[in-house]
């Protein structure tokens, strides 16, 4: 039962809770207690914030060999995105034809099901990326 392990991270999964170092301004996602630049000077100064949810695609892959949880999605696109706050995230890119995906394209996060503990278990929700359509 991974229920509590996922539940614990829900603020970041649902609402992109992050922290900004009060010393140097570097943003970390998910939140952490210490800045990798400022070390001790950052302790107690990591300020809570939420990412706005938009960013630029840094790289992507179309996944054909998928874990069993993702069988139904394949082939699916997974992407690394640099959010506008500077920090990078990894997730699926959805609602898109894999042939249309380009490095540099603008994407935004949306809440989707990311997994479940089997048909009788808890459903996990989290962010996925979708293209920003004009």
């Amino acid at each position: 039962m991974a229920t509590a392990r996922f539940w614990r991270d829900n603020p970041s999964r649902y609402n992109l809770k992050a922290v900004r170092c009060g010393n140097c301004g570097k943003v970390f996602f998910p939140p952490r207690a210490v800045c990798s630049v400022c070390h001790r000077k950052s302790i107690g100064k990591m300020e809570c914030m939420s990412l706005k949810g938009e960013g630029e695609l840094i790289s992507f892959s179309v996944v054909h060999d998928a874990p069993s949880q993702f069988e139904i999605h394949k082939p699916y696109v997974v992407a690394i995105v640099r959010m506008d706050e500077g920090v990078m995230l990894t997730s699926q890119l959805i609602d898109v034809d894999p042939k249309e995906v380009r490095i540099g394209m603008r994407v935004r996060t949306t809440l989707r099901k990311v997994g479940e503990d089997g048909p009788a278990g808890v459903i996990y929700y989290g962010y996925k990326f979708a293209p920003v359509r004009a």
């Binding site: 392990r5 996922f6 991270d9 998910p30 840094i58 790289s59 992507f60 892959s61 179309v62 996944v63 054909h64 060999d65 998928a66 874990p67 069993s68 993702f70 999605h73 082939p75 699916y76 997974v78 992407a79 690394i80 990078m88 995230l89 990894t90 997730s91 699926q92 894999p98 490095i103 990311v114 997994g115 996990y124 989290g126 962010y127 996925k128």
Partner: protein
């Protein structure tokens, strides 16, 4: 710190070894290394075992004691320690053994690496492989280890103009080398078209860009240099051993086309050995995916950043090239039992430095490098070996 030598090596064949269990593998590699070093059981001060995931592959933890037991060391009560750092487990076990001898705590230690991967379904094995990445923030969202390396590949192509063909050439070259290695899982050459036409795993990478699922074990015997010649006429000196870490998640770095842990570990190793990358004649690098070899040869300083693909295509990393990379066939052709890999790299380098590598021998090999990585380079171990 005192000088340390490798005085014995041993390895199982790598591949789908249906009739061998995890304990068989560890025992066979260990005993052959001990036999190679002509040791008696009572000479062994300690055993270190690199293993990534016996808990998930065979539902067995506590595997260092198990291997000591089946190697006949139970009544000697030899200290046995398991080391885990995903794909870098073997390289890291080697480094721990090296530190134990170099420190003077032990005189002779056996370092083994073992993984039994074919007792689970392929999908399960790749899921276990992906647990080397960040489970909570990468894998949960659909990333597999292959897809993370695929994203590195695509970005490398975007930033440096590396071509799909250059990346594929890594597999072609390593299969050519593997064809000369009697323990390799694949002893068969493949051509570029085969790699390019293979079914996709995580685009742009296909089946032939990925190291296989393998069973296997390898072992080396380490000894204080001042005692080494009483066991062997060809001791191989450990000129350097360095280790570095990085963020567990690939996306937590500022860029994804350089493994800084490789760079840092390599710089430390070259400093310790007082050598330069130009002096390296051969290297075993962690090509769990083809693109990983291109990153490795760049980040180790063997080739300038962005030139790894071109150098591979031009044959500079093949046997007979500027620096022979993965003469064993690498993870791609020799096989990739996770925990065994880092140790198997050293077995290959020792064979080369002893001049016992047969058809794949690098002439006059005297300085060799091993780079062993875990996950997307969150742990990297770089070792330099030289003829003593």
């Amino acid at each position: 710190m005192r000088d340390v030598a490798i005085i014995g090596i041993g390895s199982t064949k790598f591949g789908e070894l249906w009739d061998m269990s995890f304990r068989d593998l560890g025992m066979q590699a260990g005993l052959s290394a001990v036999a190679d070093a002509k040791l008696a059981a009572e000479d062994i001060d300690a055993l270190y075992v690199g293993n990534m995931s016996a808990g998930r592959f065979i539902e067995q933890e506590h595997v260092a004691a198990l291997i000591a037991d089946y190697s006949g060391l139970a009544r000697d009560h030899v200290p046995a320690t398991r080391i885990e750092a995903a794909g870098a487990s073997g390289g890291l076990a080697f480094r721990e053994g090296y530190l134990a001898v170099a420190s003077g705590m032990h005189d002779i230690v056996v370092v083994g690496g073992a993984e039994k991967m074919t007792d689970v379904a392929d999908v399960m094995a790749t899921e276990i492989q992906s647990s080397a990445a960040d489970q909570q923030w990468e894998v949960v969202f659909g990333a597999t280890l292959a897809s993370l390396f695929a994203m590195i590949a695509r970005r490398h192509m975007h930033e440096f103009g590396t071509t799909r063909e250059q990346i594929a050439q890594v597999a072609v070259k390593n299969h050519r080398h593997g064809a000369l290695n009697p323990i390799a899982q694949y002893q068969k050459e493949i051509d570029l078209a085969t790699v390019l036409r293979a079914p996709p795993v995580a685009e742009p990478l296909g089946v032939f860009d990925c190291a296989p699922l393998s069973d296997g074990a390898a072992a080396v015997v380490l000894c204080a240099m001042d005692r080494a010649r009483s066991y062997t006429s060809k001791p191989v000196r450990i000129a350097a051993s360095a280790q570095a870490s990085d963020t567990l998640a690939l996306h937590s770095r500022t860029q994804i086309t350089t493994f800084n842990a490789t760079k840092v570990a390599a710089e430390k190793a070259f400093r310790q050995a007082d050598r330069t990358p130009e002096q390296v004649q051969l290297a075993e690098v962690h090509d769990n995916f083809t693109i990983a070899e291109i990153l490795a040869i760049e980040d180790l300083g063997l080739f300038p950043k962005g030139q790894g693909g071109r150098a591979t295509m031009d044959g500079e990393t093949a046997l007979g090239g500027k620096v022979a990379v993965n003469t064993s066939g690498g993870l791609k052709a020799r096989g990739f039992p996770f925990g065994a890999t880092g140790v198997a790299q050293l077995v290959e380098l020792v064979q080369q430095l002893r001049g016992e590598a047969g058809k794949r021998q690098v002439p006059d090999a005297s300085l060799a490098l091993a780079q062993n990585a875990g996950g997307t380079g969150a742990t990297v171990v770089v070792s330099l070996l030289e003829v003593a």
